[in-house]
C-alpha cells in the first residue's frame, strides 16, 4: 500500500509523519531528563514509558540507549552488546537514543544524538552528518544501486576522517524498510524486535528475494539494486575514536518519474535538521 505513494501529500504519509514526530518528541523529552548517573537501562525505560503513556503499544524494536564510547560501538562483537547496559552517564559524555515505536499501525524508527554538556568534537560529527543526508537523497533520486550509495556514503565518511559505524548493525545495514503494521492485541517481541514488524520485514525479504531486491540496505550483493519504492529508515552512523553520532529518519521512495517526487525525506522539521539550519544562520 505504501509503495503506491506518488507524492508527499499522500494521506498515508501523515500517519508515519505523526509517529516519527512523536518519537522525536520522546527523544527530546528524555534527553532533557538525562542527568549524570542515569544508566542506559534507565534511559531506555524512560523512552518506553514516555511512549506507552502516549498510546504506543507495539514496537519495531524496543528503545536503545548508548552512552560514552558505546555511541561508537567500541569493541562491539556480538549483537547482544547493543542492548542497554548499566553504564552511567557522566558530564561531557555523548549519548544516542534509538527507538522504533508503532503508533496506530504506523512505524517510525529514529535515532537521536546528544551530549551531556559541551563536546566540540561531538558537535563536529553532528554537523558533518548533514552532508550524508544530502548525499543519500541525491543518489537515491538518481536511482543508483543501493550498494553503490552505501559505498559512496562510506567513502565520504572516510574522507571526513571518520569510521563507518553502521557497519556494526546486523547485516551492516545503513537502512531498512519500515511499513504499516497490523494492530494486534498481543504482540510479543523477540530480542527487542516486535514480531509483527519482523513478520513484515520477513515477508518483504521473501517477496524481494523473488524480485531481486531486499528490505535491508547493506554493503552486500543482495543490495545491488535500485531503490525500491517504500519507506526506508535511514541511519548513517559516524564514529571517531570513542565518539559516535547518528540520525535516523524515514526516506520515502516512490515510483514517480519526477525526480523531486521520486524520493524525499518524510519530514524536514526534525531536531537535527533544525540544528543545521540554526548553525547556518549563526554562521
Amino acid at each position: 500500500m505504501v509503495s503506491r505513494v506518488k507524492d508527499e501529500r499522500a494521506p498515508e504519509l501523515q500517519g508515519f509523519r505523526e509517529v516519527q514526530r512523536l518519537a522525536y518528541a520522546c527523544a527530546e523529552a528524555v534527553a532533557a531528563r538525562l542527568k549524570p548517573g542515569v544508566t542506559e537501562r534507565e534511559a531506555a525505560r524512560m523512552q518506553r514509558e514516555w511512549l506507552r503513556e502516549r498510546g504506543v503499544r507495539d514496537w519495531f524494536h524496543l528503545p536503545f540507549a548508548w552512552f560514552g564510547d558505546r555511541t561508537a560501538f567500541a569493541g562491539f562483537k556480538v549483537p547482544l552488546q547493543f542492548f542497554p547496559t548499566d553504564r552511567r552517564l557522566e558530564p561531557g559524555m555523548p549519548f544516542i537514543l534509538d527507538m522504533a515505536p508503532v503508533y496506530k499501525g504506523f512505524t517510525a524508527d529514529i535515532g537521536y544524538s546528544g551530549c551531556l554538556g559541551l563536546h566540540p568534537l561531538h558537535d563536529r560529527l553532528l554537523a558533518d552528518l548533514e552532508a550524508h543526508r544530502a548525499l543519500i537523497l541525491s543518489e537515491v533520486r538518481e536511482r543508483r544501486p543501493l550498494r553503490e550509495i552505501y559505498e559512496d556514503v562510506e567513502r565520504l565518511m572516510i574522507r571526513q576522517g571518520y569510521a563507518n559505524r553502521h557497519r556494526a548493525y546486523p547485516f551492516g545495514v545503513i537502512a531498512h524498510k519500515v511499513d504499516r503494521v497490523a494492530e494486534r492485541r498481543w504482540s510479543p517481541h523477540v530480542f527487542g524486535f516486535g514480531t509483527q514488524s519482523l513478520k513484515g520485514l520477513l515477508s518483504d525479504a521473501v517477496h524481494g528475494h523473488r524480485d531481486g531486491w531486499s528490505p535491508l540496505w547493506s554493503p552486500y550483493r543482495f543490495s545491488d539494486h535500485p531503490p525500491q519504492p517504500g519507506l526506508w529508515a535511514v541511519e548513517p552512523h559516524l564514529g571517531f575514536r570513542g565518539t559516535g553520532a547518528k540520525f535516523e529518519e524515514i526516506l520515502v521512495v516512490t515510483d514517480s518519474r519526477d525526480p523531486e517526487q521520486s524520493a524525499f525525506w518524510l519530514d524536514d522539521d526534525l531536531p537535527h535538521v533544525r540544528r543545521w539550519a540554526e548553525e547556518r544562520v549563526a554562521a
Binding site: P120, L121, R124, I158, R159, Q160, G161, F240, R241
Partner: protein, 593 residues
C-alpha cells in the same frame, strides 16, 4: 654565557639562619615567579639554558643551595644541611623575591629532593603554586617504597629493590668519612667535566663551574644529614599540598622509574612526563624542560585564578606523558596510516604538523586533531617528492612552530605490475615519493634535530614488501627496501645524537592506497577493475590503520629499530630470517586478481 651575564640578571644576597644565599633574578619581577633549585654536585648554573628560555615569560629565580656556588656554607657542616634548614632557606628566598604571591618550584636531583620536602610540609602551604620534580624522589616516599618492598617481598619487588640498590652505589660512597672530600678536591673534581661529557653527553659550556670541588665536598653532607634518618623513619604525612609535575628521564642511571610507581597515593594532583634522556636533563634537554615547566606553571596560574583542577585539562591518550607538548610532523597525513598517526599523537597532547599533497584532507586532519587534544595543529600542502617545497616547509616549520621532536615520513604511493612492463616514468614517480620523500624529510628535519642536539625521533614507513619479495610489486618493494635500509643506516649514525630511527613495516592495512595504486602495463579500465578488486581484498582483510598508528607511537617510546605490524608482516619478517627460500618461492606466485 654564564647566568650573571644574561640580559636583565639581578643578583642579591639573602641572609638566613647564619648563612648568606646568592640569588639571581631574571625576567620581569611583576610576573609570576618560578624558582629553580639545583642538585648535587651542581650550582645554579646547571639551569642557565632553561632559565634563559623561561625568563622570556616568567620571573625566574635561581639560588645556590647553602654550601654551594657563591652561597656561604654553614659552620659546622655536620647538621647544617638538614631538610628543615633547606626549607628555611627556600622560604627566605621566596619571601624575598615574591613576598605576596606563591611561587612555582622546580627541582632537579637534590633540588627536587628538597623541594619534595617544601611541597609536603605544612609550613609552606600557600607559598607554593606548583612543583615540577625531576630526578629526585622524596626521601619519605622513598623510605616507604623500600619498606613496602621489604615487608612483602615478591620476586618483582625484590628485583626492584636490588635494581635501585645497585643504582644508589654513590650514596653509600658519600657516607664514608673524608674520602669523598678528598676525591672531589683531588682527581675526581678535575675529571668530572670530562666524565659528564663522555657518559652523560652533557655539552661543554659554563658548567660545571670552578667551584665544583667545594660544592661537591660540602654537598656530601646533604646525604649524610638526611638520607639515613629519613629512610629509616619516613614521615607518614608526606602528602603533597600542591600540584606536582613529575618529569622522569627514562635513561637515568641513578634512579629507576619504578620509584614513582605509587606516587599517586601521595600526590592528589599528579601530572607525569617522561623523557628519553639521562640524568642531567637541565643541560641535555633544556628546550623540552622549559616548555613543560612553563606550560605547567601557566596551567596552574589559570587554575589558581579560576579554581579549575589541573588534572581535568590534561590529555588522556596513551603516552600522553611522553608526547605532551611535543612537535610532531607527519607526511601523507590526509588519510590512512598518516591520518591515524596524527590523531594518535594529537590524543597524546602533541602539537601536530599535518603534511600532504591533498590540501583539503590535510586541513581536515588538522581540524579533527585539534578537537581531540592537540594544543595546536597545522595543515601544510606539500608534495614530499618536491625538494624545494620540502626545503621551504622545513624553514617554515622551524621558524613558526619550532624544531620537530618526532618526524613521521609516511607519505607513499602504490605501484604494482611486472618489472618488464613498468616504465621508467613509473619507476621515477614511485622512487620520488617513496624514497626521495623520505630522504628529503630525514635530511632536512633530521639535520634540524641534530643541530639542536636535544634528541628526537624519526619514523619511516617502510613495508612488509621491504623484506618480502614479490613478482607483483617490484618497484614498490624496491622503494620500501631502500627506506628500510636507509632507516637502519640513519639509526646507526644518529644514535650518538640521541635521535632514534624506526622503520615501520605495516603489511596489508585497509587504507586508500589501493584506490590510487598504479598498475603497470594495464589500460584505464583494467586498472580501475584491479583497484576495485584490491581495495575489496584489503577491505576484507580489514586491518585498521589505527593499530599501525599505535605501533608507531610504541616504536618511538621504545626506540625500536624495525617494527612489523600485522601478523603477515611479522610472519614474513620471521621467514626472511629463518628460511628466505620459502619467501622466494612465495614471491613466484601470481596474486589472485
Amino acid at each position: 654565557m654564564s647566568l650573571r651575564d644574561l640580559p636583565g640578571a639581578r643578583e642579591r644576597r639573602v641572609a638566613t639562619g647564619g648563612i648568606e644565599l646568592c640569588v639571581i633574578e631574571l625576567g620581569d619581577a611583576a610576573r609570576p615567579t618560578i624558582v629553580l633549585v639545583h642538585g648535587y654536585p651542581d650550582s645554579k648554573e646547571v639551569w642557565t639554558q632553561v632559565a634563559r628560555q623561561l625568563a622570556e615569560q616568567w620571573h625566574v629565580v635561581l639560588y645556590d643551595v647553602r654550601g654551594h656556588g657563591r652561597s656561604t656554607a654553614p659552620v659546622p657542616l655536620r647538621g647544617g644541611f638538614t631538610l628543615e634548614k633547606l626549607t628555611d632557606d627556600f622560604l627566605a628566598v621566596a619571601d624575598a623575591v615574591s613576598p605576596d604571591r606563591p611561587v612555582h618550584v622546580v627541582g632537579h636531583d637534590w633540588g627536587s629532593v628538597q623541594a619534595w620536602e617544601f611541597a609536603t610540609v605544612s609550613r609552606t602551604e600557600g607559598r607554593i603554586a606548583s612543583f615540577t620534580s625531576m630526578s629526585g624522589p622524596s626521601l619519605d616516599h622513598f623510605g616507604h617504597w623500600i619498606k613496602q618492598r621489604m615487608t612483602r617481598p615478591t620476586p618483582r619487588r625484590v628485583g626492584q629493590l636490588l635494581g635501585q640498590g645497585a643504582k644508589s652505589w654513590y650514596v653509600y660512597m658519600l657516607h664514608t668519612p673524608v674520602l669523598p672530600e678528598l676525591a672531589w678536591r683531588g682527581p675526581l673534581g678535575k675529571r668530572w667535566p670530562r666524565i659528564l661529557e663522555r657518559l652523560e653527553k652533557v655539552p661543554p659550556g659554563d658548567y660545571p663551574t670552578p667551584s665544583l670541588p667545594d660544592d661537591a665536598a660540602h654537598g656530601a653532607w646533604l646525604y649524610r644529614d638526611n638520607v639515613r634518618s629519613r629512610l629509616r623513619r619516613p614521615r607518614a604525612d608526606a602528602f603533597a599540598h600542591v600540584p606536582v609535575q613529575l618529569i622522569t628521564p627514562t635513561g637515568d642511571i641513578f634512579l629507576s622509574e619504578q620509584l614513582y610507581d605509587g606516587l599517586d597515593a601521595w600526590v592528589p594532583q599528579l601530572t607525569r612526563r617522561s623523557l628519553p634522556a639521562k640524568h642531567w636533563v637541565p643541560r641535555t634537554r633544556p628546550d623540552q624542560l622549559a616548555s613543560w615547566i612553563g606550560e605547567f606553571a601557566a596551567v596552574n596560574e589559570t587554575a589558581l585564578r579560576d579554581g579549575v583542577p589541573v588534572r581535568d585539562t590534561a590529555p588522556q591518550g596513551a603516552y600522553a606523558d611522553r608526547f605532551g607538548g611535543q612537535l610532531v610532523l607527519v607526511t601523507g597525513a590526509a588519510g590512512g596510516i598518516g591520518r591515524a598517526t596524527a590523531f594518535a599523537f594529537a590524543e597524546a597532547g602533541a602539537r601536530v604538523v599535518v603534511v600532504d599533497r591533498d590540501a583539503e584532507g590535510a586541513s581536515r586532519t588538522a581540524e579533527l586533531a585539534r578537537l581531540i587534544g592537540a594544543p595546536a595543529a597545522w595543515a601544510e600542502t606539500v608534495d614530499v617528492s618536491d625538494e624545494q617545497a620540502m626545503e621551504k616547509l622545513a624553514e617554515k616549520v622551524a621558524a613558526e612552530y619550532g624544531i620537530v621532536d618526532v618526524l613521521v615520513n609516511n607519505a607513499g604511493i602504490g605501484i604494482s605490475g611486472s618489472f618488464l612492463e613498468t616504465s621508467t616514468e613509473e619507476w621515477r614517480r614511485v622512487l620520488d615519493v617513496n624514497l626521495w620523500g623520505v630522504i628529503h624529510g630525514c635530511r632536512l628535519f633530521g639535520k634540524q634535530m641534530a643541530d639542536r642536539g636535544q634528541g628526537g625521533h624519526i619514523v619511516n614507513t617502510a613495508s612488509a614488501a621491504a623484506y618480502q619479495p614479490s613478482r607483483a610489486l617490484p618497484a614498490y618493494s624496491t622503494s620500501k627496501a631502500a627506506v628500510l635500509m636507509l632507516s637502519e643506516c640513519l639509526r646507526a649514525e644518529l644514535a650518538e645524537k640521541s635521535i632514534g630511527v624506526s622503520a615501520i613495516c605495516p603489511g596489508i592495512v585497509n587504507t586508500n592506497i589501493t584506490a590510487t595504486t598504479r598498475f603497470a602495463g594495464t589500460d584505464a579500465a583494467e586498472e580501475q577493475r584491479l583497484r576495485k578488486r584490491t581495495s575489496k581484498l584489503y577491505g576484507m582483510r580489514n586491518y585498521p590503520p589505527e593499530k599501525v598508528a599505535d605501533a608507531i607511537l610504541r616504536a618511538v617510546v621504545r626506540n625500536q629499530a624495525v617494527v612489523p605490524v600485522t601478523p603477515e608482516s611479522h610472519g614474513a619478517r620471521f621467514l626472511s630470517r629463518l628460511s628466505p627460500g620459502a619467501l622466494r618461492a612465495a614471491a613466484r606466485l601470481k596474486p589472485p586478481l
